[in-house]
Symmetry: C2
Subunit: 97 residues, 2 copies
DNA sequence: ACAATAAGTCAGATTTTTTTGACTATAGAA
DNA sequence: TTCTATAGTCAAAAAAATCTGACTTATTGT
């Protein structure tokens, strides 16, 4: 079903809607993310949902996935430039609470 | 099921999540809202969903419902002070798109 | 008096999101 | 070589959100 976009902020809001995305985003501001640590950090969450959220955040261009080819060869998710542009919005939001 | 709140911005984000809330919020910035007009303005929406969204926005303290006891006796929804505080967040969000 | 408009509610159906549990593939440690 | 960790995927189930259509009650307009 095609959704027409009427409200300009809606797209951005939608980007961060979903049960775990805001939390993932917040943690990504602090440091690079790794799948299994996230799973442990965000209690109540589950693999599938995190995997989906990460994939979507990636598709939206807020996070980028990198394979670190060092010592213990692993995968990292980092905020992109676009993602970083959202930080002030979050800060403002937090200022209101 | 009890949800624990970890991310500070999450509550605010949740306030405006839901298919129609952002749009309703945006329209409320422009002028007071009336149920049936909203229903006509927001194409694709439906009574039930709008009723629920309005009720929730009210509970969250972003909108307030007033019965206008004049000429054609009707009901209006207006942004509260709290609601108005969110305007700059929306503006910032729109600036990014 | 009669029809229309406003502002809903209610139950049930449909859709979307989120969760569960089982399973996979690769790397490193003991 | 066996065990553990990482980083997932897949199908199915469960839960949450949204939509539909019928119905309501009060107020206006004709």
């Amino acid at each position: 079903m095609e959704e027409i976009e009427t409200c300009p902020a809606q797209r951005l809001l939608k980007m961060l809607s979903g049960k775990w995305k805001a939390e993932i985003f917040r943690l990504s501001v602090e440091s690079p993310l790794r799948f299994n640590s996230l799973l442990r950090q965000i209690q109540g969450s589950n693999k599938q949902s995190l995997a989906t959220a990460l994939k979507e955040l990636e598709e939206e261009g807020l996070l980028e996935k990198t394979t670190i080819k060092l010592k213990p060869l692993h995968i990292e998710y980092n905020l992109t430039e676009k993602g970083k542009m959202l930080i002030p919005v979050f800060e403002q939001l937090e200022g209101l609470s």
